[in-house]
Each structure stands twice: as C-alpha cells, then as structure tokens.
Amino acid sequence: MSEISKDLHTEHMVINMGPSHPVTHGTVKFLATLEGETIIDLDVEIGYLHRGFEKMCENSTWQQVIPYTDRLNYVSPLINNTGYALAVEKLLGIDVPERCKYLRVIACELSRLSDHLTNVAAAGLELGAFTAFLYFVEARELVWDLIEALCGARVTVNYIRIGGLKNDLPERFEEKVKYTFKEVRRLWKDVDKLLTKNRIFIDRVRGVGAISAEEAIAYGFTGPCLRACGVPYDVRKAQPYLVYDRMDFEVPIGETGDNYDKYLVRMEEIQQSMRIVEQALAQMPDGPINVRMPQVRMEPKEKIYSRIDSLIYHFKTVIEGIKPPPGEVYLAVEGGNGELGFYLVSDGSGKPYKCRVRPPCFALTAAMPRLVKGRLLADIVPTFDMINMIGGECDR
C-alpha cells in the first residue's frame, strides 16, 4: 500500500475563495489549501473594503464623522452612531437627557435586531435554506420600516447626534412597534421550526467551528461568538451605558462555542432585543432629547432664525466643529458582533486628532483559520457566516 502511494503523484489544491465568491459576502478572500476536501491551510486576506475611515475622520469635524460611522457595520448603523456619540460625549464630559438615553436604547436594539436577523438569515441562505432566509429578510424589512420612520433612512440612518438626537419619535410609533414585533415573532417561530431542530441543519453547524472559552478570550472574541463559548460577557451588563442597567434582559450563553451555539445565542438575542425595546418604550419619560449647550448641539431652529447669539453659535459649531477639551477616551458599546470600541484623541480643535475603531469582527476573522483548519471545505460556510464578518467594520 505504502509503495503505491509513494509512486502516486498527489499535490495540494490551492483555491482562491473570494473576494467575489458567494460565501465571502463581507468581501474577504480565503486562500485555502485543500487535500481533497480537507482544508489543511487557510489564509484570510482582508482589506477589500478599506475606505480609510480613520484617516477620513481626521479631516472632518466631530459632527461630520457620524454619517461615516453609519458605514462601519452597515447592518447595525445605529449602534455605531451611538458608540461614537457616547465616546465624544465622554470626551466632552456631558450627559444627555433621560429621554434621549431611552431613545438611543430603542434605536440600538432595533439595529441589533436587524443585525441578528440578517446574520441568521444569511447563514440559512448559505446553507441552502433559502426560505428561512427570506422569512428573516421579511422580518428585517419590517424592522427597517420602523428605523425608516424613526430616522428617515433604512440603512444610512445618521440619527444620533453628539449631545442628542436628530428627532424625537414619530407619531404612532408604539403601534408600529407592536405590529412589527408581532410579525417578527411569528416569522421567528417559523424559522425556528425550519432550522433549529432540523437534523440537516444541526449536522452542518453542530461541532463545527468550536472554540474553547480560554482560546476565544485569547483571540479577543466578544459578543455573540464569545457568549456562545459560555462566557457571559456583554458590554451592556459589564459596563452599562445609557439606561441598560434599568432594563430587564437575559444574556444568552452557549456551551461549546460551535456554530450551533452561535446560532442559538443570536436567535435568543433577537427575543431579548424585542423585550428591551418594549420595556424602553413603556418606561420612557417625557422631556427634552438634546442637551441645552449651543456649543455642542444646535439650538432650536426658531432661535437660530431669530436670535443673533444663537446664530453665531450655530455658525461657529458648524464651521469650526465642536471643540472637546484635549484628551483621549475609549468607550465600548455592545455592537451586533461584539464590543465596538471608539478610541478618540482630541487636541482641542474641531476635528478628531485620531479616531480609532475597535471592530469586533476583526478578532473573529483572525480566528477563521483556527476554526476551520482540518475540517472540510463546506465547513467554511457556516463558520464564516456565524462569525458575521462585516467588511465595512473590519476593513474600515
């Protein structure tokens, strides 16, 4: 036997998966070395969606960065908005009004909802369950309808402002939320029945892409992928920001950190996010949504139209930008994929001296070779889906 195999000429097959390949939907390239169907080596190349976000920020005023942050994790733009605004507010040392905090929580959770719906849907699509994909995309469309009514756009929201918000809740928002959540829960049940207990799906995801908690922490995992390993780390609980400490919600955790756990954690977080939105809507106080600081957030339009001091402040903040005191700050929020951190340095001018983003999926993507090495080619699919690498965030 060994004699024969010595004579047989075999060589490894090197294939380029991506950057435009159905599975690499974050625009990434895998350089996979295959022995038959087994992956013996995998190289991940990122950077195909690099737009120079951090450099661009250095040439914009503090307010102008907010539309750029929409394009980080484009499935959950409101969380990016919030993270950036909170970081700048920390730098400025200001606190936003109560109602604004609740509205931001609602916005963040709607975004998280759409992020997880997209992720689970895409995983279903990649594994061939096209119907589950479209049920969740339908649910996501409904959530995006809510976001559109709130912010004026579905994806590029530009809603959160430094020191406040663009606008208050639209009319009859609570009714719409009630209707949407009823539909989302119905579709959630259908997808749950289609996938969660389906043995074909379980066989594809269970035991694949498993990683121990120690290793996950060493890699820098956060978010659903870390929670799937059994570590109940959630920024919303560990360092509560906004009013998350007043919300009653559970942190879903898995056991082995495989793709099935990641899937289940996300499915459960969809439910928890809806709970949080409902609680926030019920508890929300009345009151202002913007800070009363003309050097940070513009004053009401009537004042700008009629009073010269307001007009001067308005012109100064727009043209020169908000001027936070010199210093540096790091603030993390729980993004769709994990800890989304903003590290900002101010030199006292109207533009950020440095705006660094800690993208949650960079660490996750870095672990890709570790997760799939020695497994079959087809295992790249669910593993990469559950990592939920978003090019806009990872490459910036």
Binding site: V65, I66, P67, D70, T131, E138, E141, E148, A149, L150, C151, G152, A153, T156, N158, G164, L165, K166, N167, D168, P170, D190, K193, L194, K197, N198, R199, I200, A213, G230, V231, P232, Y233, K237, A238, F249, E250, V251, P252, I253, G254, T256, Y260, L264, V265, M267, E268, P288, N290, R292, M298, P300, E302, I304, Y305, L311, H314, F315, V318, I319
Partner: protein, 207 residues
Amino acid sequence: MSTTTGLGQSPYSVQVGVPAAVLKAKKVRRRLDLTLWEKLYVAEIVRGLVITSKHFFINMLGFIFPPAGKKRKVFTVYYPEEKLTLPSAYRGRPVLVAHADGSEKCVACGLCEKMCPAHAISIVAAEKAPGERYPARYTLDLGRCVYCGYCEEVCPKEAIVMSDEYQGLAQGDRNLLRFQKEQLLRPEGKVKTRLYFVRRIYSKWNY
C-alpha cells in the same frame, strides 16, 4: 426550554464582574442529543414542509381573495406600478426651496457646503445688491451625496430640504449627476410638508 443560571462556578463570571442576579445568564443550548425521532430526518422534514406549504397556501389564497385594504397577502409590491407610502421622515434628494417669484431662498452662507460630509455641495456666492448675497452657482453632486440630511439640518434659511424624490438618481454619466441650481429649485408649495416637518423636528419640541 432553558433555565436562568447564576454561573457561580464559572471563573468568567468573576472576570465579567457583574453579580449573577443582574447578569441573568441564560443557557441556550436546548439539548445535546437528538431523539431517535429527530434523527430519522423524515419527521423534521415533514414539519418543515408543513410550514412552507402553510405559507404557500395562505399566500395563494391571499392572491385570489386579497385581504381588506391590501392588494395581496404577501409583503412585496410591484415597484414601478405601486409605490410604498414614505414616512414623513424620509430623506430623498436634497432640493433648493424657491420663493414665490422663482428666486432661491438660499443666501449662499456656505454652511451646507461646510457641513456636507461627502463634500457634494459647492457654492459660488455673489451679490445681487449690496449686502444681498445669493448663490451664483449652486452645484450638488448627487454622485457624492450620501443623503445624510445635514444640509437641511444646518441651513439657517430653510433654503435646502430633503425632498421625497428618489427616482432618476441613476445615470450613465457622472457629469449628469452634477445638479445645478436650476435643476434643484422647487417651488415652496411642493415641499411644504417637509418644511413643516423640518420646523417641527428641529424646533423647541426637542428641548
């Protein structure tokens, strides 16, 4: 389904540093072993088929007997023939507001040009009469515009608003997307609802 556990024995709960009562960790792993029934594929496949068939027949029925107030049961609309009603917050193409005599409200202060995060606006200011500025040229490059709505937010004269126009934004030539003042001007009556909306959302109502 699952139980709420304190995870007291796990060393990580210490690292996370949140009391178990607040943390409320919830194990989602529903079970480890499949029952024989589930292992046989057929039962779950039939269940899946029942769900999709249910959607199929309900939607088919919805095509034949549309529910009240709707054209059909399903979610999709035939786009060019049917259009969704846009929420009042919707941000479409930015347009300039014109006075009743057709001249623009804009006084070429340059705030929108300065604020625009995509650098899509460029203004050449001139004077009509001494002390009365107006934009001699107002170019909005819709190939760059990101529809963020900052121009509308910062405008001190209600001269530029986000309309609900979203059609005709695709062109074969980038130069055709560079809209001049004349193409952007809309009579005030046409953007009245948006002007009212803008006045409301950036008004005292917020504070």
